[in-house]
Symmetry: C2
Subunit: 343 residues, 2 copies
């Protein structure tokens, strides 16, 4: 197999966005039919649609859908959608683009909004393919054949084949992958539920580990590189990503193996100077008290549940974008990337 | 409350060892009645009895029980029990002591074995109290009031009040604790199930986090110190402990806060030169595929499931034993500890 046959996370049809409900995977492939901005915002909030690039595209379609129903609905729809998740910059960015297109339209604003949403979708699909190619080249050059990844960054996280998982899929297609190691990604288990599901569909040899096993396995030489996605990249190269990413970066550094971050340039937030400024979403403690609906601890136990953590730029070997690879990303190299045409 | 009221993990009565089945906590306080070495070995293997010091004591009683039933049963019972878990040195050490006492007995070997098991039990209880006092002094001096701990190291892990969790309990008694942060400790959730249960019984303010959230929280200043137990300490100070410990040590170093290991000297294995020689138990992959009996991933997913990892001595700020505190433990300081009378 060369792609996640049958796994299409989002599909727009006139009047509705069809989305796999990712909270039900891998047990049930249930498709949601989202007709309003509120439907889309709700699906994003409860993680039925997730992954920074994918929620950006979903948010864009959400604005277009609402405008098709109610020509006066633009501003509240944009506010609702832009704030459905606080950490990913893609979401606010995509919503802003669709709003601007609708407001600038000389003809039908709803048609202009939909055209912009489709354009964003197509751009992200193209970005996924470029990221896969650049990342596979980087890792193949490094001789990395056993790759550890965190959370889910495949077709269920970003249009096309995703980001970090697209790199792994591309390496496998090129015959350069021995095995993928997937962390489970507590509390919501996107690794155990979604990445394993995608890897199984792709026919890629893989092993699942609990999150806290990864540092010791890296120290013992069980992987040649770590690759993860990103929810937001600050202007200095600090990366906010799924909680647990920072610990993997520390462990990769200690094991002297590459720690690679993959994401489209839409994930870079030049308005945020450093990772210290990124608002870390704190989610419902009940997510920690349960796993896949099973209670794990005493009822009402107080919990901390940060959804993300920040990995400082100095721990990042390379940032792989659709525009190429930044080695040791920092404010200067990101600034050059921004100045390049088309960014 | 000043102690885990009602939580007595092990109790010997003539002909039987009574043990709380820790696999059923915190939902059900079910007491096992173990009458043979095989009963005890089985309880250790399936983690109904766990924690390096506690399984040492259980193993000691197991030998005595078997000898009380069958005077010829000494050697096979010792072999069965000493190998019930591969990583903890206490178990083999305690079993050897009871065997030697039985073999050296001039009177009834079974009575000699039981007396030795009781002596080991009493020594471990005394060690717990000493560890608590030394550790609390160390952390109070460091001004650490918010302490992160991993897995379970309380009364359910070691006779008395335990090891690392005994330090936290002692700090709380002295009015020097603001809060304990407990990691859940996947896959078997000893933190979520057992540490939270003990902290709730002790009336100690606490918060539960998923394992991978700890490094980011430490970087953000959420705790002043990390304290963990140990399953085995090598002669050079490298520490094997519950999987995830190594990642916490890296994160504590990066956050410039103390990383403290607490355990009785019975945990030190002078026959093992470094952590590289420690055999890491690889457990059933089904533990990774499930949480508290709930399936988390596709059936048959290949998994790695190391039960422990190794933290190199250079990451350890202090080793707290019943004989005092070793700062920056290494081969020389451990060797001096060994040479001290009574070790």
């Amino acid at each position: 197999m060369t792609a996640t046959a049958g796994v299409v996370a989002l599909r727009y049809e006139p009047g509705a966005l069809h989305a796999i409900d990712q909270t039900e995977l891998p047990w049930r492939e249930h498709h949601l039919v989202l007709r309003t901005a509120a439907d889309v915002a709700d699906a994003i909030k409860r993680l039925a649609i997730r992954g920074a690039p994918l929620i950006g595209v979903a948010g864009a379609y959400g604005v277009a859908l609402e405008l098709g129903r109610d020509p006066a609905g633009l501003v509240p729809a944009c506010e609702l959608l832009a704030t459905a998740r606080p950490t990913a910059v893609n979401l606010a960015g995509a919503v802003d683009r669709v709003r601007a297109a609708a407001q600038a339209a000389t003809g039908d604003p709803a048609a202009a909004a939909l055209a912009e949403a489709r354009a964003i979708h197509a751009e992200e699909e193209a970005a996924s393919a470029e990221i896969a190619a650049h990342g596979a080249e980087l890792l193949a050059e490094a001789g990395a054949r056993r790759i550890l990844t965190h959370c889910n960054t495949g077709a269920l996280a970003a249009p096309g084949r995703g980001t970090a998982l697209a790199v792994i899929a591309e390496l496998a297609e090129r015959g350069s992958l021995e095995k993928a190691l997937a962390t489970e990604a507590r509390p919501l288990l996107q690794g155990a539920r979604l990445t394993v599901y995608e890897l199984a569909h792709l026919g890629i040899p893989h092993e699942l580990v609990v999150d806290s096993a990864a540092p010791g396995l890296l120290a013992a030489g069980a992987a040649d590189a770590v690759i993860v996605g990103c929810d937001r990249v600050a202007a200095n190269g600090d990366v906010a990503n799924k909680v647990g990413t920072y610990g993997l970066a520390l462990a990769a550094q200690a094991a002297r193996i590459p720690f690679v971050v993959a994401g489209p340039t839409s994930t870079i937030d030049f308005a945020t100077a450093t990772g210290a400024e990124i608002v870390i979403e704190e989610r419902d403690p009940e997510e920690v008290r349960q796993a896949a609906g099973q209670r794990l601890t005493l009822e009402g136990t107080p919990c901390r549940n940060p959804a993300f953590d920040v990995t400082p730029a100095h721990l990042i070997t390379a940032l792989v974008t659709e525009r190429g690879v930044l080695r040791s990303p920092d404010a200067a190299s990101l600034s050059r990337l921004r100045a390049a045409p088309g960014v």
